[in-house]
Amino acid sequence: MNKLDIAKSEPLWNTNKNIIFIITGLLILLIALPLFGLNSFYLHLFIMIFMHAVMAQSWNVIAGFSGQISLGHGAFFGIGAYASSFFFVQFGVSPWISIFIGMFFSGIIAVLIGIPMLRLSGHYFAIATLLIGISFQVVFQRWELVGAASGLWVPLTQGDSWSSLQFHSSKAPYYYIFLFFLVITFFVVWLLNRSKIGFRLRAVRDDAQAASSLCISVSNYKIIAFVISAMIMAPMGSLFGQYILIIDPDRMFNIEISIIVLLITVLGGIGNIWGPLIGAAILIPISEYSRIYLGGTGGAVDLIFYGLILMIICIFRPEGLISFVPKNILEREKQR
């Protein structure tokens, strides 16, 4: 066989066996975990980790895979929350369907925002998204149709209801629902990475000029990434709304959401599919525990922790915590 035939006979991807074992094991463990009788605090902790991992993955798609730093991504979280709750409260549409309505609206709004804003590059795009994120909160605080500042209150069902996606006796169903969305999201992003779109997004990220010499419409691909990212974020807003059953602008369009998805992703490893999961698994417990131990007096202490950790990471490990994982376990997808 000549060299070309040898090269052609190579598998397309050098998927590492170890990572498959690790992921399968982790997944089985996570599925089994509530069966050991986790109390509701731990269930809540895991729910928050799952939710933030997905939210950070959403940000990872736009920032890590296509190179656009968005500082207003919380807007899509709020849009998802409001869209699904509004249709549930007003028209009795099942949350299972209204989640998709939320995704749809989120995608449409991403296109509308994306077309003018993705013409801006680098810092200007970041600043513009920051303002968009804030302006959504201001609009929803004054929009009577969706309850203005007091928000929407999801009508409570009698007891647990899968069709209304409400569970009062245990948090375990929420745990599994969030876990399900986590798995789906990571699988979709993994597929995206291996697809033609994934290749082209990386091209746009690495060098937009070179990409356009290869027939890639840079602006179109930036919009595609923005829309995919927004549609990943929206269901988390919808589910979080169903989890706390109050949808108000201060919570759902909080600027903190846009910031924390960035912190998690950068901490875990930006541009790496596992970065958001590792980042969330470390930052969320810090946040929840500091809230317990420092209580109301030190409301922002967790942010000081974040800041410190992030500074250390950025100085010593700019690729994020993922870079601590041995290379032979977490090899880059393509073989060298």
């Binding site: 060299k3 070309l4 090269a7 052609k8 397309l12 291996r194 697809s195 033609k196 290749f199 082209r200 990386r202 091209a203 690495d206 060098d207 000029q209 070179a210 990409a211 356009s212 010499s213 290869l214 027939c215 890639i216 419409s217 840079v218 393509k334 073989q335 060298r336």
Partner: protein, 240 residues
């Protein structure tokens, strides 16, 4: 047969006329060399043809289609490939991935796109380096990467900006051979070149620019004996 017709193309940056009234034609399947001293407007001309810089006025016809003012991705989609003087590889991706991104233009299937990319990498003689990241490659290898990536879109016209610039002497003959191999595949080539010996060797016709203007257009022989070209390149001969 003409594949590219440029008429009265002009572009000014502020008061500087980077390209002024440039007209020429490129014959299908031939190599057109573009020469001129630094600042003559060669790279600007490439950027105008490929859409990276908007022309002020003039006409650019590619296969009788007006491509004046189109965006770069539209122009490349019509079959106009290019490489860059300041190399632009996707640095954190492997050579194979770089070329695959080009191959996806003609092939949606990942396996087939990979195999097409591999064939092109074999063509530019870098098959052993396929899994190396672009940033690990030498300048000469990155030039081949850019040529391979541009070839992957199966261009009818390929514009190459200083293929032999910035590489050591030993590497140059291989790159020149590669340009000839590409021409032999039927690709029309327009190449910017500083090395006069090379341009005389590979070109079927030559366009000479100086200070944004066309000073000569013709066969290598004609250019070699053109007084204006000699003056622009070597300074006025009488002065010596």
């Amino acid at each position: 047969m003409k594949i590219l017709t440029v008429e009265n193309l002009s572009r000014a940056f502020g008061g500087i006329k980077a390209n002024e009234d440039i007209s020429f034609e490129a014959e299908k399947g031939k190599v057109l060399g573009v020469i001129g001293p630094n600042g003559a407007g060669k790279s600007t001309l490439f950027d105008l043809i490929t859409g990276y810089t908007k022309p002020d006025n003039g006409k650019i016809l590619f296969e009788n289609k007006n491509i004046f003012g189109l965006k770069p991705d539209k122009i490349s989609s019509l079959g106009v490939g290019r490489t860059f003087q300041k190399l632009k590889p996707f640095a954190d991706q492997t050579l194979l991935e770089n070329v695959m991104i080009g191959a996806f233009v003609k092939e949606n299937n990942i396996k087939k796109a990979r195999d097409n990319a591999l064939e092109i990498i074999e063509f530019v003689d870098l098959i052993e380096k396929r899994h190396h990241f672009a940033r690990e490659l030498s300048t000469g290898q990155r030039k081949r990467l850019e040529m391979a990536r541009a070839m992957a879109i199966k261009p009818k016209l390929l514009l190459m900006d200083e293929v032999t610039g910035g590489v050591d002497q030993k590497t140059i003959p291989g790159l020149v051979e590669l340009i000839k191999k590409m021409r032999n595949l039927g690709v029309t080539i327009i190449t910017i070149e500083h090395n006069i010996n090379i341009i005389m060797e590979i070109s079927d016709s030559i366009l000479a620019l100086d200070q944004g203007k066309k000073i000569a257009f013709g066969s290598p022989k004609e250019i070699q004996n053109n007084k204006k070209v000699i003056d622009a390149y070597l300074g006025t001969v009488d002065a010596a």
